[in-house]
């Protein structure tokens, strides 16, 4: 069965998702799972995710020890929490909206829009970001469920545009930032290899 839901749901990072009408039950489950992961709710992993859960996206690919670029199991949820809190510390406001979703069998496809504003200074290798900069990016997420829990989450977004937009359209500045980010990612990768987690830059 396939159901499709146009959604306009706002979630300010750090606060509970505003309940919206017209949302499919699987999408609701998935959004609740990730909201609880963000909030660091005790027991979130056992409640929403299978023991063999894996997530794969641009951020995990840079720090993963796995050939497929994924992070796995409970530590991956901790990393998700840490990297999102890193974002929340770098920006005064981050609004995340689920703008569209589709449910098919045990799969939820959703388009999320993040709007980050009021930067606090440095982010992703860029420094002195103007305080009035507002950056919007759309990402696509696929959550797959087995026995009522998420076992796989896979996402993508235009990472280069995100960096270029933060740099105010200056691709050379974005290139320099990427070089700096490389050093930060190496540090995260090293920590992952030692079984520690640390916020991704």
């Amino acid at each position: 069965m396939v159901s499709e839901k146009p959604i306009k749901e706002n979630s300010t990072v750090g606060k509970t998702i505003v309940k919206a009408k017209n949302i499919g039950s699987l999408t609701r489950f998935v959004l609740d799972a990730w909201d609880n992961a963000y909030n660091g709710t005790p027991g979130v992993f056992q409640k929403y995710f299978t023991p063999d859960f894996k997530m794969t996206g641009p951020e995990t690919k840079m720090v993963s020890q796995e050939p497929d670029g994924s992070l796995r199991g409970k530590p991956s949820i901790q990393s998700y929490h840490d990297m999102n809190h890193g974002d929340a510390q770098a920006w005064g406001k981050v609004v995340s909206e689920c703008v569209w979703s589709l449910e098919a069998d045990n799969t939820v496809v959703r388009i999320m829009r993040w709007t980050s504003s009021k930067p606090r200074g440095s982010y992703a290798g860029l420094e002195n970001i103007p305080k009035d900069r507002v950056v919007t990016i759309n990402g696509v997420f696929i959550d797959k469920l087995r026995n009522g829990k998420i076992y796989d989450m896979f996402w993508a977004y235009d990472t280069m545009s995100f960096l270029v937009d933060i740099a105010g359209g200056d691709m050379k500045a974005a290139g320099k930032a990427l070089g700096k980010m490389g050093e930060m990612m190496e540090a995260v990768k090293k920590a992952q290899a030692e079984g520690k987690t640390m916020p991704m830059p």
């Binding site: 396939v2 499709e4 589709l102 496809v109 759309n138 993508a156 235009d158 691709m171 050379k172 070089g179």
Partner: protein, 183 residues
């Protein structure tokens, strides 16, 4: 088994990549909109519109073909509703033989895989919107074989090319040349 709409998408884009001058009128609505990483810097609203969007896709595909010896596309996830088709495609590019995206020289045995997320929206049996996303930086980093400094240098080399292209739009949408005439 592939659905009729999925096959329609495949044949439509084969025709686009072949430069078929009839494909736009037959398969896309006149107000077709394309939003993707490549279009982002090419128009004030970040999207390409109408037949110009189709010409752009033809140009992008030719650019890839001119730089890689082999490019394969494989559908790995597909979900369909009444008006939409969502796909994840895996693109595998190999045997680079020319400078590409700010890299002067890529190893000839290089193979780069990218997962591309595409949402097609239909109206009256034709494609009216395409939303397209992939991990663009990840693609650069893969071409740099994980060396982010090398990826950063390529991005800096790539900047003037993108800026020139943007400037060619003179503040409006960058215009792409018409398909070659039918032989």
């Amino acid at each position: 088994m592939q659905s009729a709409r999925s096959r329609f998408i495949d044949t439509t884009y084969e025709r686009v990549h072949a430069g078929d001058p009839d494909v736009f009128a037959e398969c896309f609505t006149p107000d077709f909109t394309y939003h993707g990483p490549e279009s982002k810097m090419m128009s004030p609203d970040g999207a390409l519109h109408g037949e110009n969007a189709i010409r752009a896709m033809y140009a992008f595909n030719n650019g890839d073909k001119g730089s890689w010896g082999k490019v394969e596309r494989e559908i790995i996830v597909e979900v369909e509703t009444k008006d939409r088709l969502f796909r994840v495609m895996r693109w595998t590019a190999q045997k680079p033989y020319k400078a590409y995206a700010g890299f002067d020289k890529l190893p000839p045995d290089m193979k780069v895989k990218t997962e591309v997320f595409i949402l097609y929206t239909f109206r009256d049996g034709k494609i009216c919107d395409e939303f397209f996303a992939y991990d663009t930086l990840g693609y650069f980093i893969d071409m740099a074989q994980g060396d982010m400094k090398k990826a950063a240098a390529a991005l800096s080399n790539f900047a003037p090319m993108m800026e020139n292209q943007k400037a060619s739009g003179a503040g409006g949408e960058v215009q792409f040349p018409a398909f070659p005439a039918k032989k």
